[in-house]
Symmetry: C3
Subunit: 376 residues, 3 copies
């Protein structure tokens, strides 16, 4: 977490902010072996030191360039699997067989924090890596909630996934057999900026519950064939997450504000971590407040999400290919796109601020309104 | 078929004429679902409207760029599978959930005609898309003929396939076990331009019938071990087809002009439709005038062609790779190459004419003699 | 072996010397069929003429660019599989069906020699291709030695493999379960230039034999659990081979110079032939002086080497990918890297000499000391 003045200057990226916390892995992905993964364009080797604390450094041995993630952990140090260079968590080279390593350059290390079941990495300047800036995930450490999730590697710009999640109109078309329903695209959508979030909400009163929610109603002993009030509240936060409050309540009982015993609700969790300009790691899951002691239900929901999100992948990857083959073409920007559009504006503003070179810790990001640049 | 003035200007291609009819699909490839295919460099979505009439438009939703071919047909309109934009056959956007679509740009549509068991697409200016310019395929709609065929996706410039088909010398080498025979490369070949066709013909008198023709002779009750007179007449037409009249007659009975009861003959059908500069869709088949009521024979011939044409694929794709790795190298141009060479001249002239901007409907293409440009 | 003045000028490569003998294939790879392989960036077709003598020419038919390696050998000539052009071993076109070939350009041919069980190819000017410059391989044609080996296609610069082989420190890390042992990286390494070789040697006295050598000791009836003196002497020669004398002797009996009856030793044979700038053909094997009449042991050793060398492949290919993603980054150059570094200097000097245009036969290459250019 401490600054490392000897490492090379942090370059500003043009496709994502770098002074921010990104989900780099789920906690259980980093065990006794080393995990190599490209995060925000950077090759990263993650491992657990002897005390179980996660460390991350550039996945590039300064000796001959071999990936450190092919190595192993010994006494809390990461040992290169080619010639045995051993580095401390800080990136300092501790030893190498037959060598004096005092003059060896330090390996670039990254600020990482493990919290909420994820490993969070700050690709930018470690001086600004304040754990206080991590998002607050109420559902993650509370016995009132259950969580299940997984990860996809997606061959498209992470912002196409944000567009997707900030406009659930697509559910009617892409997910017709599970969570989509005709009323979604008939209900008006409202997009606002509240604090540092972009929020898109949609409320559907007195509709028939789609299959996913019928299963959930049934799971908590509520009737699944009665009319329900349904809601979807998508919340984008920098650098790249979308939390979606979703649920249904028996119709006329207060909807979103109905008492717990007549509704089922959950939060769809989405972290999009850029890998390259045209690919990202998509960490998804669902946190729910009902039937939290039913691990079989957790598995069932995760399987369902797996099927649903997989339907998005083909559309998004083919959309990316289409955009690649006709670069520069302008797309439409409709009211339903406002959620994605304003989220992108927020990202753009954060990038611009970093590029201008003033990432003072604690500063808030002023939001620009330059929609022109935002063509996809 | 009507002009669409609002769509963007038709760019001239440099590798193929665009104001021409190309085979885009076999009729049975387009059913209730939408077919996405790149034709002459353009992404195309083809579908059947309610009346069964085939329509084609750009495979790119103007909203967010998703491929329309991932969508579906509803009430004769093509509906995008992402957010539900619905377009008429003409490319006019008819509706979208929650949107006023009056100001939406029109989707580029293509002139298409279904005829002879194929779907023909005109990639260029729809104003010039005259169905009267379709080729006349006498074998396609006649009870005197039987037809069977299929399609290959080939990773080479479509013109390498034209070269291949306009010079059957290669049969001796590539197809030695089926249709090749030593006499092919010993017989002189003659290339002429007749009207708008380049014709390469070769006649082999008193030869032994190769395996394919022995099978055919046997199939109509003729002796398969007698000497035969054999012919191959290759006919190139713009933009990119080669029809090859092939056959054998019992020797000395008139050859090509022998009466039907002492010969077997057929037409090898080849439509090469560019996909990209280095790949094409190859629609191939055989139309025959003998044993037309024998569908098992149709299958057997198609299987045989499949095996034979597959032998060409490796040679052609490796040839393309070789040419790619040493660009600009000049090749030889021999008498046997005249068929391909003159066909390429005809293509070049058509492209030049389009590039000069004078594609007046009904005009004929003057043939240039600039062989120098024709190095492959 | 004779010069071919009509062929195009030999371009100097910038990644390898061209006026040198490279292993192009093992003898048994070229039989009755034609072998196509890219050698030093050049597409090469190798075949055996009627007398069994190996010939090599460019794998590119001058007619239409098809690969000649798809063809076949007839009467000692290489016949193109597309249209039947037939070439003599010298590259002269001998015939083509229906053509007068007197004016046909000659196909570029390469000097090749078959010796020591390999086919050696000289990619540069055939005028300088002196068989006297072939390396002397004492183990190859002697009844006192047995040899077994094979080939890998490796996706990295051939020089990364030279680095690997000229610094066996990596054995401790990459090959811990077979030939690696802790004492390797503790023993000092010494690098010298002797004549036209770079030699890196390491001697480990009174160590425990690692699994491979225990197997070898056991195979000749020596105790496998006694302390041994172990040695590794790596010898690089231009253009790109590393011969490694390896062995163990019962401790205190003279080590490398111990009598034959108390030691086992062999030569690890490595020829790295560039394919492209980022890939090479790796011919590897082991020549041994013990148990030479035991073909089962030959197989067993080859299987063992196969497993060991395969461990190197992942490291090297991932190292190449890492270097590619951060080009221009400088690596460390340590004492253990001296063997690879000085070998690269020798390669660089040979390339420079060729580039300056003075490859006089018989000249020796002066060694530059410009280490700065040698960053990988």
């Amino acid at each position: 977490m401490t600054s490392n003045p000897s490492q090379k200057a942090i370059r500003s990226a043009t496709d994502w902010p770098v002074n921010a916390w990104y989900v780099a892995a789920a906690s259980d992905e980093v065990g006794t072996s080393v995990l190599g993964r490209r995060i925000c364009g950077l090759p990263v080797a993650m491992f657990r030191a002897a005390d179980g604390v996660v460390a991350a450094m550039e996945d590039f041995c300064p000796h001959r360039g071999a990936p450190l993630s092919l190595g192993f952990v010994r006494d809390g140090q990461l040992v290169c699997g080619y010639h045995g260079l051993a580095a401390e968590c800080t990136g300092r080279v501790a030893s190498m067989p037959g060598q004096r390593v005092g003059g060896f350059p330090r390996i670039r290390s990254f600020a990482v924090v493990e919290r909420f079941g994820f490993i969070w990495l700050w690709p930018g300047d470690p001086d600004f890596a304040d754990p206080g800036k991590l998002p607050q995930l109420e559902w993650a450490d509370s016995p009132d909630w259950a969580y299940g999730g997984s990860r996809f590697h997606v061959l498209c710009d992470y912002r196409l996934m944000i567009d997707n999640l900030m406009d659930l109109t697509h559910e009617t078309y892409v997910h017709g057999s599970s969570i989509g329903q005709k009323e979604i695209d008939e209900a008006p959508v409202k997009t606002r900026k509240i604090g540092q979030n972009i929020i898109t909400s949609r409320f559907m009163d007195r509709v028939k519950a789609p299959p996913f929610w019928r299963m959930a109603l049934s799971g908590v002993g509520l009737p699944q064939d009665e009319a329900v009030d349904r809601w979807q509240i998508c919340r984008f936060s920098l650098p790249s997450s979308v939390m979606i409050e979703v649920g249904v309540a028996l119709a006329g009982r207060g909807g979103y504000d109905a008492p717990d015993n007549v509704k089922v609700s959950s939060i769809v969790v989405d972290f999009m971590t850029p890998e390259t300009e045209k690919s990202h790691h998509y960490f998804w899951g669902m946190a729910r407040k009902f039937a939290v002691d039913d691990p079989l239900l957790t598995d069932k929901i995760r399987d369902g999400q797996f099927q649903i999100f997989r339907e998005d992948l083909e559309v998004l990857e083919r959309q990316q290919a289409n955009l690649d083959s006709d670069q520069g073409r302008r797309l439409l920007l409709l009211n339903i796109d406002a959620g994605g559009a304003r989220s992108r504006e927020m990202i753009e503003a954060a990038i611009t601020k970093e590029t201008l070179g003033n990432p003072t810790p604690g500063n808030e990001h002023p939001l620009g309104s330059d929609r022109d640049r935002m063509s996809r």
